[in-house]
């Protein structure tokens, strides 16, 4: 109940916030605006008895104000009905959060001060999305904001971070410095994707698992442990945009560093407790974008320098001692993307990317290869967009492709009946071998239907 009261309070404040600027806008002509969109997203699994796999109704609200030429305010929140009723007994029927789950997602809220102290210096303070990298949605250099993997198909989605960003401009050259005081972990996907993205653990022979519990060890709440800093220099050379970046941060996906086995009263059965941490790492990045013979091209690479994380497996309660291994070695590893796109004279647009290292992969020997591709064409003066081919191919082992591949195909049709309205119908087909990430989801083909209306 408290949660719902909080939501209603926030909605009330937002409406109040909106109505006042609107009145102000009418009377003074000041630049306060609000807008947003309503989006519905329903997904139906084609196998598994046609279960609904996702149901989201999202109201996006954005407020923007330019009180002076030198200042700018922006905020964005999502009010969402996400998921399904979770009632399990009659007592739950008085809990609206279990009947109709609602959530508030505070995406961004920041103020910009332009020409701060120096004419060429802009600063942005507050919760913000800092999107680095030139590749299409899958950006190895985009490491400041935590990943938001809640919807794994919404590639590139990140949470906002409470941060200070300073940008200094000198001709074509731009310098960016970012300070994020508090580390925030990534949001992990629910259901099948959670198990697919996490590493599996093999039990010693003869043991069965009763309970698995884990503890996340968050960094200490101080400057040294928690803070993330980053810097980027961008410039243009010979018609190409380049940037170099650096981040001292943390891997935002948890890594197991200790596992303790405890026997239960049943012979051969164990409880497992594990400790997970977010390893510190330095990340150096480089990206470019430009045009070669009319074809749009981009490349982006990040070198990760992680701290070494030892893995302790405590089997002492089973009389097998304590074993140590390396969960993450400190050898640098590189994730990269190479991509290109082109629009043919007949309006067909194609886009392709080769990706080495998916978002959750880490360690030199654990990076896989992916090819992402898309083809689309618009018809009837952009009223209809058909994307017959879009998807990806995952190759886990080039030496044995036959047993180490997976693919996703996701053809889609989008119709724009009137301004600001978009209806999308698509299907996601997955197949492949169980050795691969996507292959493990081969039974999760789904049909989806989205409606978006911007206002």
């Amino acid at each position: 109940m408290t949660h719902r009261v909080f939501l209603l309070t926030v909605i009330g404040l937002l409406l109040l916030n909106f109505s006042c600027p609107l009145l102000a806008q009418e009377s003074t002509g000041s630049g306060v605006t609000w807008n947003g969109y309503l989006q519905t997203d329903n997904r139906l699994q084609l196998k598994s008895d046609n279960d609904f796999s996702l149901q989201e109704y999202r109201l996006d609200l954005k407020t923007e104000a330019n009180p002076t030429e030198k200042a700018h305010f922006y905020s964005e929140v999502w009010l969402r009905s996400l998921g399904f009723p979770t009632v399990q007994n009659s007592a739950d029927l008085v809990d609206k959060n279990k009947i109709s789950p609602l959530s508030l997602d505070f995406r961004e809220a920041y103020v910009d001060l332009y020409g701060f102290l120096f004419n060429n210096l802009d600063i942005r303070i507050g919760r913000q999305r800092i999107a680095w990298g030139t590749a299409d949605k899958l950006n190895p250099t985009d490491n400041l904001n935590p990943d938001d993997l809640e919807d794994i198909w919404d590639f590139g989605r990140h949470l906002g971070s409470n941060a200070l960003k300073a940008s200094y401009y000198l001709g074509n050259c731009a310098f960016e410095v970012v300070y994020i005081p508090m580390f925030t972990p990534a949001v992990l996907p629910q259901g099948d994707w959670a198990s697919v993205l996490s590493s599996s653990m093999e039990l010693p022979a003869g043991l069965t698992l009763r309970n698995l519990t884990d503890t996340i060890i968050m960094p200490k709440n101080n400057f040294e442990e928690n803070s993330i800093i980053g810097g980027k220099i961008s410039n243009n050379f010979f018609g190409y945009d380049f940037s170099l970046s650096y981040v001292y941060g943390r891997d935002d996906l948890p890594l197991t560093r200790k596992v303790t086995f405890t026997p239960t009263s049943t012979p051969g059965e164990v409880d497992i407790t594990s400790e997970l941490i977010y390893p510190r790492m330095h990340i150096a990045g480089i990206d470019m974008a430009g045009d070669i013979a009319g074809v749009g091209v981009w490349a982006e690479a990040a070198v990760f320098f992680p701290e070494e994380v030892k893995m302790v497996t405590d089997l002492s309660a089973l009389g097998m001692g304590i074993q140590e291994s390396i969960a993450l070695d400190d050898k640098p590893y590189v994730k990269y993307v190479l991509g290109a796109d082109y629009t043919f004279k007949n309006g067909i647009y194609i886009n392709g990317q080769y990706l080495h290292g998916f978002v959750h992969e880490r360690g030199k020997d654990n990076l896989e290869d992916y090819f992402m591709f898309g083809l689309e064409k618009k018809f009837f003066n952009d009223k209809l967009k058909i994307i017959p081919i879009v998807g990806g191919i995952e190759i886990k082992d080039f030496k044995d492709i036959e047993n180490n591949y997976a693919f996703i195909l996701s053809p889609e049709i989008a119709y724009f009946p009137v301004d600001n309205a978009e209806l999308t119908l698509g299907i996601r087909l997955i197949d492949g071998k169980d050795t691969t990430i996507f292959g493990r989801l081969k039974d999760k083909d789904e049909l989806y239907f989205k409606v978006k209306y911007s206002f």
Partner: protein, 250 residues
């Protein structure tokens, strides 16, 4: 004799008038005309124009877009969408040497526009990114004077070597009195007439000629985009900072 005095006076006056007309009727060659077109179109030091775009399909259904355009000289231009909501905040920057950037607020990113995009539709209108760039025609095209009538020069413009464009040629009607282009025909690579732009309500505002209403028609798609000037300011000393990636994302 006395009777002849008025006759000679009339003849003399007619001769003088004729000499004056001849003096006024300087014959311009194609290059001079095109150069004057550039001078007239880009005469203001800078321009801030609020525009309403009306997209009209073959059934007459209309959609409206609003945008604000800043231009400095003949080479720098910024266009920002004000509406509809789904396109609000999208911004386009055109710089010399065919450099163009697009800011997409949904992705919080500014992307350089590769040349294959330049000939695609600009936000669903009948203008392409190439049409929307700030430019001097004389720097990109070789003109040829096809015809001169009482009110117009008619020029054929063919792209200079090395100029990347999807147009094989343009036919431009230029008003003879003020060198303002009133009609432009765009021909595709197969030399077929593809689009026609007409400029109407040509008025002098603040000492500069401007068309307050123009229309681009895609003949193949039977689709039109009407561009109406809602508000205009000239020579307000726009800062160079506006024409940067820094400003684009604001």
């Amino acid at each position: 004799m006395k009777k002849n005095i008025p006759f000679f006076m009339i003849v003399g006056l007619l001769l003088l008038a004729n000499i004056k007309v001849l003096a006024q009727e300087k014959i311009f060659n194609a290059n001079e005309i095109l150069s004057k077109v550039d001078d007239v179109v880009n005469a203001p030091k800078d321009q801030t124009i609020k525009l309403k775009l009306i997209l009209i399909d073959k059934e007459g259904k209309e959609e409206v877009r609003e945008l604000i355009m800043f231009q400095k000289g003949s080479e720098k231009r910024v266009v920002k969408f004000i509406s509809p909501a789904s396109q609000k905040g999208i911004a386009f920057l055109s710089l010399p040497d065919d450099i163009m950037y697009l800011y997409l607020p949904a992705f919080k990113k500014t992307r350089r526009i590769a040349s294959h995009i330049k000939n695609t539709k600009f936000a669903g209108t009948d203008f392409t990114y190439e049409d929307m760039e700030a430019k001097k025609y004389s720097e990109k095209y070789i003109p040829e004077l096809l015809k001169k009538d009482e009110s117009h020069y008619i020029l054929q413009l063919k792209p200079k070597d090395g100029v990347k464009t999807d147009y094989s040629k343009l036919i431009v009607w230029v008003r003879a009195d003020n060198f303002y282009p009133t009609r432009i025909e765009f021909y595709d690579k197969s030399n077929n007439l593809y689009k026609v732009m007409t400029r109407e309500k040509i008025e002098k505002v603040g000492g500069y000629w401007i068309s307050k209403e123009s229309e681009m028609e895609d003949l193949k798609a039977k689709h039109k985009t009407k561009m109406i000037v809602v508000d205009i300011k000239f020579d307000s000393n726009l800062s160079d900072e506006i024409f940067t990636e820094r400003y684009l994302s604001r």
